[in-house]
Amino acid sequence: MENLEERDTLASKYGMWFFLFTEILFFGGMFLLYSIYRSKFPHEFHSAAQEENLVLGSVNTAILLTSSLLVAISISAVKKGRNGVSAVLQTCTVFLGAAFLAIKYFEWHEKIVRGIYPNAPQLDQMSNGTKLFFGLYYVMTGIHGLHVLIGMIVISFMVYFTLSGNITVRNFSKLENTGLYWHFVDIVWIYLYPLFYLVT
């Protein structure tokens, strides 16, 4: 049975992609709600989006795109046998993720102080479309943020594996799959960004 003994990297890659497909439909449910409520309340969404901080949103986009670049290069590095380079790049990715979340924290904090959060008395005064916009904003960026957090944790493990020799030139599918996940999280943000910051 040695045939089966072999590590089937293609199987794990398929597994990861299949998992990402489920993630697409998971976020798909939210995008569905967003598009329907936006088509019902175009003006409210338009004006509510003005509350968003375009600069912070754009900086965050740049951060995530850059982190994706680092992950991609780190995989090529491992394939070339440069584990040290790879580990440094991965660490940088984790820090970029942290920066993303920190900025997100300030954005949320700033809104919550102004009483813009679900069920807040101030928000309840506003129009229905505004309530929905911010409800969606918190839920979608929140769940996305959770994904970023999980990604950071997983990448931290990968840094450890890269340094400890668990990930090698011949056995890197763990890292590759982590990379896929991280890029996916990036893609979700690529869409969240125009939907919440640019619809003004």
Binding site: S12, F21, T22, E23, L25, M30, F41, N119, G135
Partner: protein, 530 residues
């Protein structure tokens, strides 16, 4: 491949570093996991049906045995257990786990540890649901559909139950992912896609539905929890939300979910009929493709649960149209099964009896599905006992009977013991009679306007309810005989040969029960396996 079973160690013997119960709970052997799932599934089935009997008991004399509050919780918990703990995981996790790798000629599934993990998630989900039933605050009383805004406002432990279902969804997604990858990567040499057993085909289609539909339920349930905890009003009209969107999202999952229930069942029937008819399955490719057809078309018919919901008339028409299309691939399967018997040499053993009654009962269930899938009749029949009749026919008469088929078909292989035929057949007959009395009456009740989820009802429906309840008692007798017979066989049954029925797929070429690594050497498929 010759069979020298005596020298190979059956998977029941512990070989790893753990022993006893731990060796089972930590094992990543797909057969052990499958058996543990089977135990859980049968347990929840028995809990669920017992609740069903209580529902029936209350209905012969509302108010005598319980109050409205208890009744509402009863049918909700009955539905939640039956759907999310029994029938959606049901066939794939128990029989798929045990037999899919063997049928493909593999040693295990693609991700054995992930498989183990799904079992723990399943158990966690089940525990959370059990807590929601038992904790003070009250069992959920929303029905299994958790319709907003009621589910957001009500006091009972709905949040917990919903969270439990969410967790179970994870288990379901990962199982589907595991099986699909297994089928892609671990087929034995020579086993091309069109030489796979049909059961593998149906699990493949099911796996895709699990992966692509369940996440939608997950996010929907998160919205319910967020609504309850943080007051996020996506489905709350006073905050601009739209309750009908909840129904859309819920059924976007829950209709495909009914095919998660029935596709593996169809796979099992496609395995059993040819074996006992001593005849190759008729129209192999058509049966295989129709599984994919059901899975794909089934994704786009969810709106038929919402014909009276206030959805736009345009989309009602669209959904009704697609609903009718999904009947065609189901029909193809039925016709091919029947033709498989043509010019066969049929042996009427108990697995075959269950399989044949599946065809009959599922046809009734499916055809009544068409009646309610039609726009005008649905306006009358929606929300009545006609629907209750329909889904018990497809779920119990379909998937439930397939579970019994599989139990009787694979019992010798799984446990290495033979059960006695006679009690199994008697049990089957009683079950069949009781079943039809219990559920056919519901069609008549429903046609006469008896609404579902009713604790109390006008007296003119009383006769029907009494008949139906009597049916439930007969059915109970049948089930008890069947399970008693199997349990007896576990302890007292004769040793089973490796191929008692003369089956052709790989599992019958290895000893009963199978050895640890299934095959001594990788099997190669030479002839046409089915």
């Amino acid at each position: 491949m010759e069979n020298n079973g005596s020298r190979e160690v059956s998977f029941y013997h512990d070989t790893g570093k753990h022993h006893g119960i731990l060796a089972w709970l930590l094992s990543t052997d797909h057969k052990r996991i499958g058996l543990q799932y089977l135990a859980a599934i049968v347990l929840f089935f028995l809990v669920g049906v017992s609740l069903g009997v209580l529902i029936r008991l209350s209905l012969i004399s509302p108010g005598t045995f319980m109050g409205a509050e208890t009744y509402n919780r009863l049918f909700s918990v009955h539905g939640i257990i039956m759907i999310f703990l029994f029938i959606i995981p049901g066939l794939p996790v128990a029989f798929g786990n045990f037999f899919l790798p063997i049928m493909l000629g593999a040693r295990d599934v693609a991700f054995p540890r992930l498989n183990r993990f799904t079992w723990w998630i399943y158990l966690t989900g089940a525990t959370i649901i059990a807590l929601s039933v038992l904790l003070p605050g009250g069992a959920p009383d929303t029905g299994w559909t958790f319709y907003a805004p009621y589910s957001i406002e009500v006091k009972a432990n709905v949040g917990l139950a919903v969270f439990g279902v969410f967790v179970l969804g994870f288990s379901s997604i990962l199982t589907g992912l595991n099986f699909v990858t297994t089928i892609h990567r671990l087929r034995a040499p020579g086993m091309t896609w069109f030489r796979m057993p049909i059961f593998a085909w149906t699990l493949y289609a099911t796996g895709w539905v699990q992966m692509l539909a369940t996440p939608v339920l997950a996010i929907t349930l998160i919205f319910i929890v967020l609504g309850r905890v943080f007051g996020v009003g996506f489905f709350d009209p006073s905050k601009g939300g739209d309750p009908i969107l909840y129904e859309h999202l819920f059924w976007t999952y829950s209709h495909p979910a009914v095919y998660i229930m029935v596709l593996p069942a169809m796979g099992i029937i496609s395995e059993v009929i040819p074996v006992f008819a001593r005849h190759r399955i008729f129209g192999y490719k058509a049966v295989a493709y129709s599984a994919l057809g059901i899975a794909i078309v089934g994704y786009f018919v969810w709106g038929h649960h919402m014909f009276t919901s206030g959805m736009s008339d345009t989309s009602r028409a669209i959904f009704s149209f697609i609903t009718f299309l999904v009947a065609v691939p189901s029909g193809i399967k039925i016709f091919n099964w029947v033709s498989t018997m043509y010019k066969g040499s049929i042996v009427m053993n108990s697995p075959f009896l269950f399989a044949v009654s599946f065809i009959f009962l599922f046809s009734i269930g499916g055809l009544t599905g068409l009646i309610i899938g039609s726009l005008a009749p649905n306006l009358h029949l929606h929300g009545t006992y006609f629907i209750v009749g329909h889904f018990h026919y497809v779920m119990f008469g379909g998937a439930g009977f397939a579970l019994l088929t599989a139990l009787h078909y694979w019992f010798p292989k799984m446990f290495g013991k033979m059960y006695s035929e006679r009690p199994a057949k008697i049990g089957w007959l009683i079950l069949f009679i009781g079943f039809n009395l219990l559920y056919f009456t519901m069609f008549i009740l429903g046609y006469n306007g008896m609404p579902r989820r009713y604790f109390d009802y006008p007296p003119r429906y009383h006769t029907g309810h009494v008949l139906s309840t009597i049916g439930s008692w007969i059915l109970a007798v049948g089930l008890i005989i069947i399970f008693a017979n199997l349990i007896r066989a576990l302890f007292k049954g004769e040793k089973a040969p490796s191929n008692p029925w003369g089956g052709g797929s790989f599992e019958w070429q290895i000893p009963s029960p199978p050895p640890h690594e299934n095959f001594k050497e990788r099997p190669v498929l030479k002839d046409n396996g089915h």
